[in-house]
């Protein structure tokens, strides 16, 4: 009975508080929960109930449909036990936007929950985005890209980001201000068009660091104009003849593979 009352009260409170935000919830709210502590399986508990059981390192859960709502009494327990690793209390999920809730170790090695807001702004044509997040039990670090320091003095819970031309970056992580030891890498990071590659350093310096990633796609710009003509029509070579010549030449040169199944009326 007591539980029923408290659930009921909780429901009342959350309804009262969240009616407005949840009606303002946008369809594109995107909230992911990622388990970023290597080697530890956990149960995720909300309001006394296990909602995600035996959640393992790297496991990812979509919380988007709960945007604008409160996860009451959010706890993370060691799997199958009552040992609470993280007691986050009531966690109000943002009503809209793009977030990652990340379970990780803090600088001292204690389990913690971080909420990162993901930058979904458009990248320039031909670019991708690289986001580096320090979520490991380790001191502050520098991140080198292709040998040069790109992000400096990144501490646990912090992030750094850059929009970069498409290509591959060789990354190394070193203690702030030092050249060695290289604690992560060198690792190749692919920068692809319109994609945000989010790289998390997880684990601990003592027991081993691990890198996991998250990607947010479709951040590339669309063209804003399509110019498909700069001279008047019917001014030169008839289209059919020219194309036939080009096609013949390309097929002859082996650049076009003649494929089966095409029927051509011409």
């Amino acid at each position: 009975m007591k539980k029923f009352v408290s659930v009921f009260l909780g429901a009342l409170l959350s309804v009262a508080f969240f009616v407005v935000p949840s009606s303002a919830q946008s369809d594109d709210a995107r909230i992911h929960l990622i388990h970023g502590i290597p080697g530890v399986n956990v149960d995720v508990i909300v309001d006394g109930n296990v909602v995600f059981e035996n959640f393992a390192f790297k496991d990812t859960q979509d919380l988007s449909s709960f945007a604008g709502q409160t996860l009451a009494g959010l706890k993370v327990n060691a799997a199958g036990t009552d040992t609470t690793a993280i007691d986050a209390g009531d966690v109000a999920l943002p009503a809209s936007g793009n977030y990652t809730v990340f379970a990780h170790l803090d600088a001292d090695g204690a389990p913690a929950l971080a909420v990162f807001e993901n930058d979904t702004s458009t990248v320039a044509a031909g670019n991708g985005r690289l986001v580096v997040r320090h979520a490991a039990a380790a001191p502050a670090v520098d991140v080198k890209a292709n040998g040069a320091v790109a992000f400096t003095n990144l501490a646990n819970g912090q992030e750094a980001a850059a929009d970069l031309a498409v290509g591959t970056i060789s990354a190394e992580v070193v203690p702030t201000g030092a050249d060695d030891p290289v604690v992560i890498g060198p690792a190749d990071l692919p920068i692809t068009e319109g994609n945000s590659l989010i790289v998390y350093a997880t684990g601990s310096l003592d027991d081993g660091l691990e890198v996991i990633t998250e990607s947010i796609a479709d951040l590339g710009p669309n063209p804003t104009v399509v110019n498909t003509g700069d001279s008047p029509i019917d001014a030169g070579v008839p289209v059919g003849a020219g194309l036939a010549l080009v096609a013949t030449a390309l097929i002859g040169a082996g650049m076009i593979r003649r494929s089966q199944g095409i029927t051509v009326d011409a």
């Binding site: 409170l13 508080f17 969240f18 992911h32 990622i34 909300v46 309001d47 909602v51 995600f52 393992a56 990812t60 859960q61 979509d62 919380l63 709960f66 604008g68 409160t70 996860l71 993280i86 209390g89 966690v91 109000a92 943002p94 909420v115 807001e117 044509a125 819970g157 591959t168 690792a187 190749d188 990071l189 692809t192 068009e193 990633t213 998250e214 710009p221 669309n222 063209p223 104009v225 399509v226 110019n227 498909t228 003509g229 700069d230 001279s231 029509i233 019917d234 030169g236 008839p238 289209v239 020219g242 080009v246 096609a247 390309l250 097929i251 593979r257 494929s259 089966q260 095409i262 011409a266």
Partner: protein
């Protein structure tokens, strides 16, 4: 917050503020956010037109049902693929999908016109290859995949008629096909032919990277402005995969 006060009266409003503060503190304690992110969290106040936007929502979307059993609903929430390792990301980046190689439109006597992977310039102009080739917007979907794949070809350029000179003659029901560099061929059927003023081209729709699969063939149309060396319109043929 005026709509909130009106809805729930003064005392619940106080309670709301307290709940908000508690939630905020929990979040802050949990994650040590930057001030910018915290600001985002705080800003739960409805927009000025909050009341009317709330009225637009169907009754079912107020979330009451979910609130009563957040736990149960959470347990049923979809699991996503696990976070990828660096190796997996590199592998995915190196994976090559089939790319379009040529387009054939029998009704226009276009036979295996070369398709060139094309991008976008810094000023936002889609790159379009030579008049006798067709550009595929390589940052968008592949023809036949979810989203709107774009093939753009000239009506006329550099003094010669382009591959898409007669695109306007296509009609709903006409067939065309795209051949890929893995030897496969996908057949499409024309759904509609639409003329847009250039500035009115629905870019978000035509370049959509996800959603309903369609193929958009784009060329120029309308009058040629000899001074600007440009046409006034875009002609768009929208086609879909033959089932």
């Amino acid at each position: 917050m005026s709509s909130t006060l009106r809805s729930f009266g003064a005392i619940p409003a106080q309670r709301l503020v307290r709940t908000l503060l508690l939630a905020m503190m929990a979040l802050l304690a949990a994650c040590g956010q930057s001030s910018e992110q915290v600001d985002d969290m705080v800003d739960f106040s409805p927009p000025s037109e909050g009341v009317s936007s709330a009225e637009k929502q169907p009754p079912a979307s107020t979330g009451n049902a979910l609130q009563v059993d957040v736990g149960g609903a959470l347990a049923a929430a979809p699991a996503l693929p696990p976070a990828a390792s660096l190796d997996e990301v590199a592998e995915a980046a190196n994976r090559t999908e089939p790319e379009p190689l040529s387009i054939t439109i029998p009704g226009l006597d276009l036979n295996q016109v070369p398709v060139i992977a094309s991008g976008v310039t810094a000023t936002g102009e889609m790159e379009v290859p030579s008049p006798l080739e067709v550009g595929w917007y390589r940052y968008g979907p592949t023809p036949g995949e979810p989203g709107s794949a774009v093939l753009a070809g000239h009506i006329a350029s550099e003094g010669v008629d382009g591959a898409f000179r007669y695109l306007e003659r296509l009609k709903p029901g006409d067939q065309l096909s795209v051949a890929f560099n893995d030897g496969s061929v996908t057949n499409f059927v024309v759904d509609e032919v639409v003329d847009y003023a250039k500035s009115a081209l629905p870019f978000d729709e035509l370049f959509a990277r996800s959603g309903t699969s369609q193929l958009a063939l784009i060329t120029c149309g309308g009058d040629f402005d000899a001074q600007a060396r440009s046409y006034e319109d875009n002609l768009v043929v929208v086609a879909s995969v033959v089932a």
